[in-house]
Amino acid sequence: AQSVTQPDIHITVSEGASLELRCNYSYGATPYLFWYVQSPGQGLQLLLKYFSGDTLVQGIKGFEAEFKRSQSSFNLRKPSVHWSDAAEYFCAVRYGGSQGNLIFGKGTKLSVKP
């Protein structure tokens, strides 16, 4: 079955440090990739998405992600983390030709130390 793997359940970084959250997806037809953020008690907010073209995509709040087809990865990065970035981050994929439903990873919880 098609799946998304986020290998890190919980990551803690210091404020101002760089961040990389990993995401791998199982091989399938053309993947459309997404990163969502969920703050406590809140819904899912789209950070960025990749459909085609430039493999480095920019999102909101200073986040970026790079699609690497050879590694089936779509890692999320931020050069300098802010305390307000503490949240849970979900990687999701939709495959070309599917009806549109997203397949989510289990999420990575990000904690930020002062």
């Binding site: 459309y32 969502y36 819904g43 789209l46 999701a92 009806q99 549109g100 989510f104 289990k106 999420g107």
Partner: protein, 116 residues
Amino acid sequence: EPEVTQTPSHQVTQMGQEVILRCVPISNHLYFYWYRQILGQKVEFLVSFYNNEISEKSEIFDDQFSVERPDGSNFTLKIRSTKLEDSAMYFCASSEARTASYNEQFFGPGTRLTVL
């Protein structure tokens, strides 16, 4: 900025009771979805809906579940006889179209369902 809204934000019900979760998708969107997230677990797809019929559903979406678009604005998820394991956060989402360029799904804030 248009957004997906959901009501109620929290629903508490007794096991065996019927519940209806309500969603108002973004007005020009054509595709509607329900997902759920059991506490501490990943978000799981339940069902997608287009042109007044179900497009796709997951294994989770059994005969206890149904969806409906009763009017031009609301999209509902009904659980006929709730079980303890139905306790979860339920997210509604909508998208403008299925094609890649526009298939960004916008999520509502969720309804937390607690079954006692």
